[in-house]
Symmetry: C2
Subunit: 335 residues, 2 copies
DNA sequence: CTAATTGTTGCTCTCGTTTGCATAACTTTA
DNA sequence: TAAAGTTATGCAAACGAGAGCAACAATTAG
């Protein structure tokens, strides 16, 4: 592994000052054609590459964006990262990735790391971090929070209307004549989760359907819980004719256990999820679900952040992206 | 956003030289108890954070590992990244993520970026990049290539035995009395793909089952292609009683189209995939598949890389991880 | 032909840290 | 008691690049 050429080596080889080399590299200032080609030749011969770390130090700008998510192996987040990564690259930024496993301790660790590494900004998905901590971070480094809204209008945020999404899902079921609609909730300390529950309740109330606590279960967004919940729901009376799960993964669990118990989807029970992760269209039956546009949210988050970095003082602070019901084959009309 | 305190500010405040502060921060060298606590107090009061970019420049070491993958939104790769990320963090490294969309052009761009940013090493998943280019990169920066083997014993590599994995899948089907076993291949310019095909052929030969070109189809690892392939296979005679798909996603496609065409899995046709991505156990029926241990590969890759960085000259260069057949419910015995 | 303007190039300082060496004070050892 | 460690500290020079200013040459205007 040969040692790396620096801008000085190039300068010496080309018989110019290091500033001239810098100008050629950055295409700034004026350099004569002759000098430019002399420098370019030296660069090529020495296989010179500008050291971006050194540049960052001097410029106080790293062209790094930190993306901090709870679980990169979850398609839900990896899709967001995909969108963010792509848009960032197109705009000259690279990604510093942090996976927190949802632990507040690791969230803090990564936020510190991002600041210490002079990241230009942070895109943060941290459903449990306290509001005032988020504000504190926002005072230290440009920040966009994703999939979470917060009552502070100087914090950039990208989210969806979970309440509306849940309502549209439940109203869709009601329109298919379902009366006994069960709801499988996510964890209660996650805002998304609470709002989806609220949407469920509001939809029922709006259509004068009584709320039955036996048809509501609180859970943790995991597949196994979907399996467990299905059994639970079907051991009660009245059995639901439809189940709305707070995320797709749990809906998969519901469907799998239904199959095992010889309950047909959608013939015997309709199932609706939430998120529309990429695999929701691949399962059997393809899942009716509320699209949570993660890829778009990733893109939008980076766009907001870059705008802020460029001092484009957009008046818009938060982006409430559309979530639409995707009707597939896990639901059907009854009676 | 207040300006950031530097090591000099701390030194001034604590009335010591900046070297003493550096020693306290890095817990290196000897500092008296009194001085140490004086410095720590100043650090706290000024909210000082060491600038890792500056440290990297001085130390010629960034504590960054670049991970370059074709598609972070593909569960297959995101699981690998998860493993790598986690192990890297535990060992004091952060991740610089690159998503190449499988394009050689972007692969090169990210490799350059990694070098220019002084990444300590690269973990690369690039099935199409030419061998000699890989060797060239390996001369410039510590490298581990994942999910690909190469005939150069100075290039660190982590992979699985695709041939063996495919053979075990097909032999399993043969033991279930299947004779008409179709094979849905991935792209022919990917080594994994070719070796899986070879495994398929070897298994058939070993058991004296004639190879029927009508039962072989070349494709692209995509869901839609699985759907298409199922139709194709079932429009021919003899219809296969089992299909081995070169990856899980295509297997999902096969299953979905089967359902739509009212062909029951596994009653009418057995289906086996390859990879065991996290969703393979969640579909209906749960997929029998060959486990491709991506998470482990991610961990192993970082481990190899760190060993190299620490000059632990392990004799082992390449790791051929175990891949095992995971029998679920998409296959059954016939006759 | 002189003065003003423009185009090209280089010098030096700075970014925030670490590394290598120097130094002083304090211990131990013989 | 003197020589030889140890411990605790600081100084100056990197690390590789960019910014501001200064210098000088070439061109144009009057």
């Amino acid at each position: 592994m040969q040692t790396r050429a620096t801008i000085r080596d190039v300068a010496k080889k080309a018989n110019v000052s290091l500033m001239t080399v810098s100008r050629v590299v950055n295409k700034k200032g004026n350099t004569s054609k002759a000098t430019t080609s002399k420098v370019l030749k030296a660069i090529k011969e020495l296989n010179y590459r500008p050291n971006i770390t050194a540049r960052s130090l001097a410029a106080k700008k790293s062209d790094f964006i930190a993306i901090i998510v709870p679980d990169i192996s979850n398609p839900f987040f990896s899709e967001m990262v995909k969108g963010a990564e792509d848009f960032a690259r197109e705009n000259g930024y690279n990604i510093f990735l942090g996976d927190t496993e949802g632990k507040v301790e690791l969230e803090k660790e990564y936020i510190d790391a991002a600041i210490n590494r002079m990241a230009d900004g942070i895109i943060l998905v941290a459903p449990r971090l306290e509001d005032n901590l988020i504000c504190k971070i926002n005072d230290n480094i440009p920040l966009v929070i994703v999939d979470r809204s917060i009552n502070k209008n100087d914090v950039l945020q990208v989210y969806i209307d979970n309440l509306k999404g849940a309502m549209s899902a439940v109203e869709y079921l009601i329109n298919l004549n379902h009366k006994h609609i069960a709801f499988l909730s996510g964890p209660k300390d996650v805002l998304d989760s609470l709002q989806r529950e609220k949407g469920y309740i509001m939809a029922l109330k709006k259509h004068n359907i009584p709320i039955n606590p036996k048809l509501m279960l609180t859970s943790d967004f995991k597949f196994e819980s979907g399996r467990y919940a299905f059994e639970k729901f079907f051991s009660n009376y009245p059995k639901p004719t439809a189940i709305f799960a707070s995320n797709d993964i749990m809906a998969f669990g519901l469907i799998q256990r239904a199959h095992e118990m010889n309950v047909k989807v959608p013939k015997d029970v309709s199932i609706v999820g939430f998120d529309d992760i990429s695999l929701s269209s691949l399962v059997n039956p393809p899942l009716t679900t509320v699209r949570h546009p993660m890829l778009k949210m990733g893109i939008k988050a980076v766009e907001l952040l870059i705008n802020k970095l460029d001092n484009q003082l957009d008046t818009k602070i938060n982006f409430n992206l559309e979530n639409t019901l995707i009707v597939r084959k896990s639901t059907r009309k009854i009676k």
